[in-house]
Amino acid sequence: MATTTQESSLDATQAALLAKVQPAELHEQPLVTNDRDFNWVTDKICRIVETKTPMWWWVCMAIALVTASFTGMGLLWLVSSGVGVWGLANPINWGWAIVNFVFWIGIGHAGTLISAVLCLLKQGWRTSINRAAEAMTIFAVVCAGIFPLFHVGRVWFGWWLFPIPNSNGIWPQFRSPLEWDVFAVSTYGTVSVLFWYMGMIPDLGVLRDRAIQRLTKGAYEGCGFMTKSMDVFRKYFYGVAAMGWRNAGNHWRNYEMAYLVLAGISTPLVLSVHTIVSFDFALAVLPGWHTTIFPPYFVAGAIFSGFGMVLTLMLPLRALYGLHDLITQRHIDNMCKICLGTGSIVGYAYIMEFFIAWYGANPYESFAFINRAFGQYWWAYLMMFSCNVFTPQLFWFKKVRCNTAMVWVMSIFINVGMWFERFVITVTSLANDFMPSSWGYYSPTMVDILTFFGTFGLFSVLFLLFLRFLPIMPIAEVKFVMPAADPHGHHDEEKGGQH
């Protein structure tokens, strides 16, 4: 009939129209590529822990232990002889130690951002990197905490900074930013450890259960390193660590809730901890330190350097453990973009500082900034500027982002640049401040240098232990974001992925 023909022709026209105006299907890159299934993910992550330790791990561990011993020896000499073994003098009373402290604490912030902030922002791509990044945070906080403790003249009285009863019967001075540091860093360390550990419990349960299964089955011939005795060790070690995780529904419900709560607590810490660290400088009267831009500037810089360190760690790991399907180009792209964003904020802050120094017409302030760029530490300023301002801008280009080797080299430049930024801030403002009769020049001594490089060794030792014994990715969280986990049905890419 006429209506049907009309309707059918209408349908045909509509279909034809739709075909013209409908936008092209955007295939979002999956977060776990190559069409993997859940078992593959579990196996991949657990086998890192279960199989024989690779040779490169032993080599790296040996080097790391030797390097870490430098810190031990340096600190021993420092405490036994005096702060004078470092290069400090009037007027530069804070040198490498405080620079190193801010450097390490800043690095830690990326891990918390990935774990907590990106969790609350529902960014699925965080899942394959958050465990390792959070581990990086904790070990960075350990390395950082060494410095404010040991840089004091009388380390054995360092506990006086805590508000606990002491032999003088007096409280610490709560108006001091160093006192706030005590609270900020200890809170940060505590919450980070809790978050990291709690997040790991299901995975520790998996490792325990796999060990128990293998023990029950008992088939160990030809399994290489997966020996029975190791599995007995694993059963008890991971058994204790998993705290009775049963994979039950109510366990998962509690887990999810606890995870969100800890993510909520950690999120403000990303902003507050480095803000308080920046107050060490911003609350002083020195020109170059006494500026209100420091809190956002430091936080952006911290995230910038932290993501640089995440890239430095993740890219080799990806290659060594074959994690290309779990840490995909999309992950690297996103991390590079965050580096670009925060690096641009840091660059803006540099320019704004100069502008305000001129605009404010304070001769001390304008001198401080001109001195930074052209004075006795011009070389440090150049390092800082070139590494921090120019390097991340390369991340605009997809070609650069896809070149893993180049990204890795740039991530190292980022951290070098950020170390120099803290150096420039700390030392130039102290070396050339109000009274020229007190001006000086700070050079680090061997003890300074070795103590700092030793902390990289300490960090590496801890990180290598983490890689060897703990699950480096959250198995369940990765599974949540796989295409196979899509509740609307999983279509592979040939079918166009429409649902």
């Binding site: 702060v83 020195l286 001769p363 020229p436 009769s437």
Partner: protein, 328 residues
């Protein structure tokens, strides 16, 4: 305390007296070269000349001396940043240092704009000078004769603590004790002006340093501070130092052949010589030569980087215009 820069001749007797009185340690040549000298007081020198092209010392150099010790600021930047309450303000207005509470974070020294605080980087009193880097493996050096040389009224500080000028608090306390003893049962414990003589004041051959009770309007120091020449160094920072300086006056005869027009204020200096033209950045040890490009006839600290000190006259209670300075 008031220091008259007109009278100061830069003889450094005050520095030596302070060192003797307060058991300020000797650190040795190597450590002084590293910038770790422990003198609580220093004499800053500010040079001025008509022209300075940084290639040679000018013929007509003039020098101004400024003795710098802890300014005992009422709004002390150091007190605010000490995390353990080691440096606090006492009721008589002194910025006191509690050596046994100090853990040595050195934030106070960083925050002091005058850089008058000194940190004990090593055990200067316990270890032999020159062997300090050996730490506990080095020789212990506490000869009895040197110990006898020390002032028994003042402690010696161990490594890791900060020290600075205390306004000879031991002398203040002994004067207080003596006054209380003399007062007996009566209430008359106010110390008469001139009964406390701090070490630097006592040694000064020109009586440039005046110390006393500023709550007493009739005391000598109050009268000094009432002078028009009185100013605080870096007064704009609002630290309110209790040590103020009386500006140095020069009165050159305009009919002399080498007389030249000197700028009055920082703005005029800047206009004339340009900002940032001073390129000598090597601070070295304190009190090192530091040549300014303009000469001012009404102030000592006319270095371009410290200029606002003379710019605002540092009066806490009034603002004088820049032109209202003693005419020549």
């Amino acid at each position: 305390m008031a220091i008259d820069l007109n009278s100061c001749i830069g003889c450094t007797a005050c520095v030596v007296a302070c060192q003797s009185e307060n058991n300020v340690p000797i650190v040795g040549k190597d450590q002084v070269l590293r910038g770790r000298e422990m003198h609580w007081m220093r004499i800053d020198r500010y040079f001025s000349a008509e022209k300075y092209d940084q290639t040679e010392v000018p013929d007509d150099v003039q020098v101004s001396f400024m003795g710098m010790m802890c300014q005992h600021c009422e709004n002390a930047p150091c007190e605010q940043v000490c995390p353990v309450n080691a440096t606090v303000h006492d009721s008589s207005g002194l910025n006191t240092m509690a050596y046994n509470r100090c853990v040595g974070t050195r934030y106070c020294a960083n925050n002091c704009p005058y850089k008058v605080r000194r940190f004990n980087f090593f055990d200067w009193n316990k270890r032999q000078i020159g062997e300090v880097y050996k730490g506990p493996l080095g020789p212990v050096d506490e000869p009895e004769l040197e110990k006898m040389q020390a002032n028994p009224n003042v402690t010696v500080r161990m490594r890791g603590v900060m020290e600075k000028c205390t306004f000879c608090t031991q002398r203040i306390e002994s004067a207080k004790i003596e006054q209380k003893r003399l007062a007996g049962a009566s209430d008359d414990i106010r110390i008469a002006d001139g009964n406390i003589k701090v070490a630097c004041q006592q040694a000064c051959p020109t009586d440039a340093i005046t110390f006393g009770d500023i709550s007493d309007a009739n005391s000598e120091v109050s009268q000094m501070k009432a002078s028009d020449r009185d100013y605080s160094v870096l007064g704009y920072l609002n630290a309110r130092p209790r040590t103020t300086y009386l500006a140095r006056l020069r009165n050159p005869n305009p009919e002399m052949p080498d007389a030249y027009e000197k700028p009055y204020a920082y703005a005029q200096y800047d206009e004339r010589y340009g900002h940032g033209s001073h390129g000598d950045d090597h601070g070295g040890d304190h009190g090192s030569e530091h040549v300014a490009q303009a000469s001012d006839d009404h102030d000592a600290s006319h270095d371009p980087h410290a200029a606002p000190a003379h710019n605002d006259h540092g009066h806490d209670h009034s603002s004088h215009s820049e032109e209202a300075h003693p005419a020549h």
